[in-house]
């Protein structure tokens, strides 16, 4: 290996990392700045905006709605994702290609097109402002991540152990839950966390189908579009910290460390 090019590459790499983090690091301190505009570096120190975020009715309602939807969507995505991953890995190997293709497709369709389709469908079915409807939409967006992460975890497990359990008299379900499932704990929690944050941060579909009931991103969006409100700074900081914490946990739990998320 030549030293000079690899040193240049290393510098380039860290510059790119700095570029990726820079805006986030700028926005965090704004949450505790005293000015009511977006001013950097912020002046003074106040917890007023954070306090407003956790006490004002509209922010609390929006956060609770987002959390509720994300929780349900993550459960749905992880559950269906687990079953599908088992089916693809152990049973439907021949159809695996196109089945996986369909289920991963939401990753490569622009959110705005998906949101519009969902809106038209929901308007026709009178599902507008339906929380259950939004949960299903968000579960669809989380499913690809759940499927890929659990699938990767499943590929690391030893199928012969499960077969041994079968030979020792366990039924197929018991053999799976007693032998394979415990080994999948990490990937399952990781899948759940990824699906949770996909939903918690989702804007396009929510914006179209939720009408007057605002999720947290919808509220931030509305305040940024209409009249800037410094509580947005606090909300953004909370979202950043939550997703960093959740992701760190998820990455840590995703045992079979893979290159793709």
């Amino acid at each position: 290996m030549n030293a000079a090019p690899s040193r240049t590459l290393s510098v380039a790499f860290w510059l790119v990392i700095a570029f990726l983090f820079f805006p986030v690091l700028v926005v965090l301190p704004l949450a505790v700045g005293e000015t009511e505009t977006i001013l950097f570096p912020p002046r003074g120190f106040t917890l007023r905006w954070l306090h407003a975020f956790v006490t004002e009715e509209r922010w609390v309602q929006a956060t609770l709605l987002s959390a509720r939807v994300a929780l349900a969507a993550a459960v749905l995505a992880t559950g269906t994702g687990l079953l599908a991953a088992v089916a693809l890995a152990r049973h439907l190997r021949r159809a695996r290609g196109w089945l996986e293709g369909i289920m991963v497709a939401p990753l490569i369709v622009p959110g705005i097109v998906f949101g519009l389709g969902a809106y038209i469908l929901f308007a026709r079915l009178r599902l507008i402002e339906s929380e259950a409807g939004l949960v299903a939409l968000h579960a669809v967006l989380g499913l690809p991540y759940a499927l890929l992460i659990i699938g990767a975890g499943l590929a690391q497990t030893d199928e012969t152990l499960e077969r041994a359990a079968r030979i020792c008299g366990a039924g197929p379900i018991r053999a799976f839950t007693a032998v394979t499932l415990p080994a999948l704990k990490g990937p399952l929690v990781a899948a759940f966390l990824f699906a949770f944050f996909v939903s918690f941060d989702e804007l396009a579909a929510s914006l179209f189908v939720m009408g007057a009931k605002s999720t947290l991103p919808m509220l931030i969006w509305a305040d940024l579009r209409l009249q800037f409100n410094p509580v947005v700074n606090a909300a953004a900081a909370v979202l950043i910290i939550l997703s960093v914490a959740g992701l760190t946990l998820a990455e840590f739990l995703r045992r079979p460390a893979r290159a793709n998320p």
Binding site: P110, L224, A236
Partner: protein, 300 residues
């Protein structure tokens, strides 16, 4: 990913499993919930867009599509969308490829740790990151602060509400997609191939250009296509950072639904967005060049 046979017996698992029950059924039963979810809440909504775009009150119609293409206002937005998306894709390519290459050269454990740094911003909300760029590029932001402090300018420079601002933020948001997709393909390249080229007297540069680069082209292609598709659909970033002259197709769609409630036209715009992307994909192939025959796997 090849069909793996974990037990290594060479016998498909379906056949190894007992003969007591029919083999396909548990698989179908297990995949059914996910499939139903995807079909009802993804395939059907996507189909709704196509149908609504060309199906009016009295049957098949091209009025919406015609209007979307013919009216100069929309043509300009389409052109702007293509322009910004191509700039962002190209920039992601130029920046992302070396980063992926650097990561691919690292030992496994170091790579995992460095990759985490790429993933953290990747998982932050696009809305929050676009907003963060508002703070960075604003008149009272750190960039303007720095420029004035160094004496390069006396008054704040207009950075926000420019095409550059939109493209910059989009690159920051989309870069991890490019890095991850390229890296995936790079890791599958046998390092012995470059080593063999070196052993036969190729300089490191020649070995890279003649062996590694062509082999990694499918990853570049997949990454560029993915980034382009996602870029074309942006609406949050152009609205917050672009100002009126840099609105993209996505913004038009939001307006059509939010203000005028014109489903047919909104769907036609969405269809136009997808069609434009399809037209642009071969162009990406052209830029990426030879060796990019297969698109590889679009890994997230």
């Amino acid at each position: 990913m090849a069909q793996d046979d974990e037990a290594g017996t060479g016998v498909p698992a379906s056949r190894r499993r007992g003969n007591r029950r029919s083999v396909g059924q548990p698989g179908l039963l297990l995949v059914a919930p996910a499939l139903v979810l995807i079909v009802l809440f993804f395939v059907v909504p996507a189909a709704q867009v196509f149908v609504t775009a060309v199906w009016g009150g009295d049957g098949f119609t091209l009025t919406h599509l015609h209007r979307a293409v013919a009216e100069p206002v929309y043509g300009r937005v389409l052109w702007r969308t293509v322009e910004i998306s191509l700039i962002a894709t190209l920039a992601c390519l130029l920046v992302g490829y070396p980063v992926a290459y650097y990561l691919a050269q690292q030992p496994e454990r170091t790579r995992q740790r460095l990759l985490f740094l790429v993933l953290v911003p990747f998982w932050m909300s696009i809305l929050v990151r676009s907003f963060a760029w508002m703070a960075v590029l604003g008149r009272q932001g750190p960039v303007n602060g720095f420029l004035q402090w160094t004496g390069l300018t006396d008054a704040p420079v207009q950075l926000l509400f420019t095409t550059g601002a939109v493209a910059l933020a989009m690159v920051q948001i989309l870069l991890p997609f490019m890095i991850l997709t390229c890296l995936n393909v790079m890791l599958a390249i046998d390092p012995n191939l470059t080593r063999a080229a070196r052993a036969h007297g190729a300089t490191p540069l020649t070995a890279f250009l003649r062996v590694f680069l062509p082999l990694s082209a499918p990853g570049v292609m997949a990454g560029a296509v993915l980034v382009l598709i996602l870029a074309m659909g942006f609406f949050v970033t152009p609205l917050l950072l672009g100002g009126p002259r840099n609105q993209m197709l996505g913004n038009l769609i939001v307006t059509q639904i939010g203000d005028t409630v014109n489903w047919g036209f909104a769907a036609a715009l969405a269809l136009l967005l997808l069609l434009a992307t399809l037209v642009l994909i071969p162009l990406t192939r052209l830029v990426v060049g030879r060796g990019a025959g297969s698109t590889g796997r679009v890994a997230p």
